[in-house]
């Protein structure tokens, strides 16, 4: 009987592997779409939106935690007067500051704003993480968080790009929304004003901007695919 068990086991394992491999290979092409292709595209767009929104919410949460911790340990005295001169390097990016404004501007513009913001924060966050790791200013918790924050910003940017591409293929927005080129060009004009920012200001600014990104993505989703959970 043991002689039979071995080949049977091998065959069974082989079959399982085959099934898995077929599943894996099929996963790229697999979609939740059936016959109705048009609906299906919009469904996947909503799904993509949900994912990026979740991602941005998570990123904002981390930035909020870091900022609170920083204020707790490094700025015990809340001196409101000293904060007059705060200036974020992204202040020159015109962002809608209210619901009506965000609803009024064009989809493409809104999308562009999101992209600009994300692009503007790539280098500063990385720099911040490096300084934290080098100077041991935070404890280990803070260092991990800063790295995570930097990675998440990077991933979110890639995700939003995917969403933009999807929207463009669907014809939801025009192709005027630039890819990687235009935000970078804008940043180059700004220079590296962020290098002179204090860490506290950097954290403060990023917390605000991550909240903006989250809100703009939500508004964009509800403007484009409102029927899927708004």
């Amino acid at each position: 009987m043991t002689a039979h068990i071995r080949p049977v086991c091998a065959v069974w394992v082989g079959m399982v592997c085959l099934v898995f491999c077929s599943r894996l290979s099929g996963m790229k092409a697999a979609s939740i779409c059936g016959n109705a292709q048009a609906e299906c595209h919009f469904l996947s767009l909503a799904n993509l939106f949900d994912r990026v929104i979740q991602h941005s919410a998570r990123m904002h949460g981390i930035s909020n935690d870091l900022h609170s911790e920083f204020e707790l340990y490094f700025l015990p005295s809340k001196n409101q007067v000293s904060r007059v001169g705060r200036n974020c390097h992204t202040s020159n990016i015109l962002t809608p500051n209210g619901k009506e404004n965000a609803q009024r501007i064009e989809r493409e513009e809104l999308t562009e704003v999101i992209m600009k913001l994300l692009a503007a924060w790539r280098d500063p966050l990385w720099h911040f993480h490096q300084s934290v790791a080098r100077n041991h200013r935070f404890n280990g918790y803070g260092s991990n968080k800063s790295l995570e924050m930097s990675d998440m910003a990077h991933e979110l940017r890639k995700g939003v790009q995917k969403v933009v591409e999807k929207m463009q293929t669907l014809g939801v927005i025009s192709n005027s929304v630039g890819g990687l080129a235009s935000p970078e060009a804008l940043l180059a004009a700004d220079g590296s004003g962020w290098r002179f920012m204090k860490d506290s200001d950097l954290l403060y600014c990023f917390r605000r901007d991550s909240n903006k990104i989250q809100n703009y993505l939500k508004i964009l989703k509800c403007r484009i695919v409102p029927e899927h959970g708004c």
């Binding site: 909020n64 409101q80 209210g98 619901k99 403060y204 939500k218 509800c222």
Partner: protein, 536 residues
Amino acid sequence: MLRARMRRRLGLAVLLMLSAALRCRSASPPGKPVLIGCRSPEKETFTCWWEPGFNGGLPTRHRLFYEKEGSEEVHECPDYWSAGKNSCFFGKEQTSIWVEYSLTVVAFNALGNTSSDLFKIDDVMKIVKPYTPENVTVLVNDTANTPYLCVSWNHPPKVDTKSGWTTIKYELRVQKEDNKPEIFHPNKKNSFKVYNVDPGATYTVDMRCQLDQSSWSEWSTASVVKIPNYFQNEKPFWILVSIFSVIPLLATICIVVLKRKFVKQWLLPPVPGPKIRGVDVQLLKSGRAEDVINALIGNQNFPPAAAWMDQTEEYLLVSDSNDWLLTDPYISQKKKSLVIPAGVQLEIQCRTSAPAQSDCENAEVGKDGKVEPDHLAQTKESVLNVAAPSVSSGSKEAASGNAAGPTGYVDIQQHKGTQGAGPNAAQWDYSWVKEVNGETIFILKNEDAAAGLDVPGWEENTAADYSRVKEVNGDDVVLLQKHDSADSSCKKKEDRSAEWTNQKAKSRHGSDCGKGACLQIAGNGYVDSVPRFYVE
């Protein structure tokens, strides 16, 4: 007297006037107002409140000025009344999220103004605090005996949930009586079901909400519900059931207790100890061997055939010579011829002339030999009855064969007189059946009174009783030699016994079973005189 009064009154009046004048002059600029806080209920507008200081005795007016981030322009509060007294309401147009506000309240009166400290709002998001959820209703749903609470609510007022501008998160608190409250976070917008509720308990339910990770709202007004107790309704039923089951149980217990002996006997019947019928245990204990043996053996109804020790063994002389028969005075008295039928039945009457001797008649068996015993019970059954001789009494009673009936036993009647005597009774005679050949039984007669039951004694005593087979004539005739005198019988017997044994040893077979007769032949050549016959 009058002058004094007048002076006093004058002094008082002057004093009063002076004080009045002084009071009029203490009006001062207003005290410093304090901004208490601001709140935005829906992330689109916000309101700020302040606390005025001492008004300085003069009518005071308060004004709020604010600056927005990135602009030096100073604005004044657009709406002082919508939100009540000492408040400022910022509408949608004036509200900018993610913008820093700097607020100041200035109190004005006729004498001057006083401004409060600067109040900064980092971000309107920080002051967002929604109202409580509306219309929180709790229903008890009791289907299928598993009750649950169904809580429903509406979003707080003025909050826009459609445009995706805000993401509301709700929190539900359920407290059972005085226990620790349980917190739930519903995923749905409007309803939630609470399942782990106990019947008969009272629950307090309230809710609050949050916008985009902002501060939580206040708890809504609590709803108190009581879950009906289902077990209560069924209580009488269960009481009845328990009563009706307890009564028979008690009755059973009473019966068992009263009749416990009976019950015990029924459950655990006594195991009878070993007991021999007729044997008195006390007798055994007393220890007298004779009594014991009597008790053990005497009561037994051994088949007579088995008690060969007690039986007289008789030897039948079979001879061919009538002379011998006639010459023997004793024997000639009775002449008997034995007819041995197909089934062997042989009855021999023996008489004893002397105590030591018992002669059995010789039965001559011839081919056509007839046996004519007087008391021969002739039946067709193949039963061999060898009547035991009566030693002392010589009565014929003993000689009467007790036919054992057609049971197949050879019944040798016990000698009654010597019943109970030990095996060493010297007066037992033995009959030997030497051989059964077909339908013929050859019995060796024992002339002497053989006494010993023991084999050696038996051999001694019966050594003289051997008859020698002289001739075998045919199938059913064996001619035996006549006995010599008793004097030399011993010797001869011994010789003969040797011969016998020799012969016997040769021709021995374990059992010689014929058609109707089967004899057990003892190993030493003797034929058991008490054979068992099995009648077909």
